[in-house]
Symmetry: C2
């Protein structure tokens, strides 16, 4: 038994006429009759009640007809779908992003892509920038939004946006009243920042900001999660330099200020050059299109 046999069976079950069914299968009647006999023999079941004048389905044949319709439908769907997956119209795309981008480019990127490729399941995975790089290389992620860096081994990169860093603090902090805030004003402040191992690009941008003036930031706490940093600032344990896009949704007790000569960070979309997932290419294309409009 095979799907071809099921198709023969269906042709006869629907026409109840060997000649016309054979014609539908683009063959002559004699081999068609033999195939039907073969099917019945291999199943050990009489599917048709027939004489030289009439053809009718047996109860078993009627039941088999429903099952065959079902199987053949699923079979063709499978063949169609595998093409869609190969073309990137369907399937799955594992998309990583850092929390710093969750409120800026990610929502738009996800929305645009979901509209363009509604049958691709986007698996979102929030990670720290370092985890993202590892997972991209390991192939655990298909694409990700992270901070730009020189380390782009086997990775293709699309610049999505440039973010300026701002400083956040409690509203009752002395700096909240300052006219202008730069490295000099900050070098005696208790700075809270993610560790180098977690967000190298962000941390090096902060370090450079100070070292350009011959200074060194006084980093007192190094939580790995952005969420934690903001909470610690809210508790008055220090101040933090964070991307501007995150400053819109601060809690009640917090405020943000621009930095003089503020450092910039690239927010990029990255994917392995060697990716085998065909869904990635249009994802990157949409990233490029966003770049045109947002910068």
């Amino acid at each position: 038994m095979d799907t071809r046999h099921m198709r023969y069976f269906m042709a006869l079950a629907e026409t109840l006429h060997f000649g016309r069914a054979a014609e539908r299968m683009n063959m002559s009647q004699p081999p068609f009759s033999r195939q039907i006999a073969m099917i019945e023999h291999s199943l050990g079941v009489k599917l048709f009640e027939r004489n030289s004048r009439n053809v009718a389905l047996t109860p078993a044949g009627k039941h088999f007809m429903k099952d065959c319709r079902n199987v053949l439908g699923q079979f063709e769907d499978a063949c169609r779908d595998v093409r869609l997956v190969a073309s990137g119209m369907k399937g799955e795309l594992r998309f990583g992003f850092m929390m710093h981008a969750a409120h800026s480019v990610v929502p738009q990127l996800v929305q645009l892509y979901s509209e363009a490729r509604p049958d691709v399941r986007l698996v979102l995975d929030e990670r720290t920038p370092t985890e993202i790089d590892e997972m991209l290389v390991a192939g655990t992620l298909d694409a990700a939004v992270t901070f730009g860096s020189e380390y782009t081994l086997n990775l293709q990169t699309v610049l999505l946006a440039r973010e300026r860093l701002r400083i956040i603090m409690r509203k009752d902090h002395v700096l909240a009243a300052a006219r202008q805030i730069g490295p000099m004003a900050l070098c005696n402040e208790r700075i809270i920042a993610a560790p180098v191992a977690t967000a190298p690009a962000l941390r090096s941008a902060i370090n450079s900001y100070f070292s350009a003036k011959g200074l060194v930031p006084h980093v007192v706490l190094e939580p790995r999660l952005q969420h934690t940093i903001i909470q610690l600032v809210a508790k008055g344990l220090g101040v933090a330099l964070i991307p501007a896009s995150l400053c819109n949704e601060l809690g009640g007790g917090l405020t943000s200020r621009a930095l003089s000569d503020s450092p910039q960070l690239d927010v990029v979309l990255r994917a392995p050059i060697t990716t085998k997932n065909p869904a990635v290419s249009t994802f990157m294309e949409i990233g490029k299109a966003m770049q045109q409009t947002s910068i």
Copy 2:
């Protein structure tokens, strides 16, 4: 593409090794490799990433694997189920019965059969005896419980039970106080009975009961449904002769009495001899088994 190709694909997808997959398919490696290439070519999709050292699934291949597992499962189920239907273990049985039997043999018959053949869907259809005969001949019913009669053209019959007729009346009816009730006592009563066209066996039993004494029943109303007959008796419009098994569940205002030399009716299970539904045979067998115990 065919299910055989899907099986080849699954073998390779699961082993990721051409040699071992070919072995599993009971063939040598070279033709197996060709078949895999054929599949990819006919689908127009690369399913495996391979060199002379490693074999790996592409994303499209991974997706196809799930679909193939599904299709192959359903395919085998269909082949298994059609055998079950042909053997009468699965399928559908359209079972007709007259209301006179609904409270006696039908529940037991249905229960016993459902236990013996849980995968056969019993389609119950309550009909008048005449409708039942027509539908059995037309093939609209596979089997039915009805009154016995001589007319058994192409029908096989199993005697399930013998029912005596009793007379029912309102509790305030004069006959309710009678010592013994026979044709003489009834020939002046207003009789309510189903028409000959609806229940010939029942009606002829009633007629014979009177004619044996040279009398003729005075039938004033002829509703087709048993339910209606009982309601009319309850309204005081007459009395009725009905099978004893129906007398247990009479409404509040009604009562029943035995008839002297009471007429008997056979309750039988019938099916076309030429039935093509393999589920019928055990249904009849169970009827025969009930006959042993009930009579």
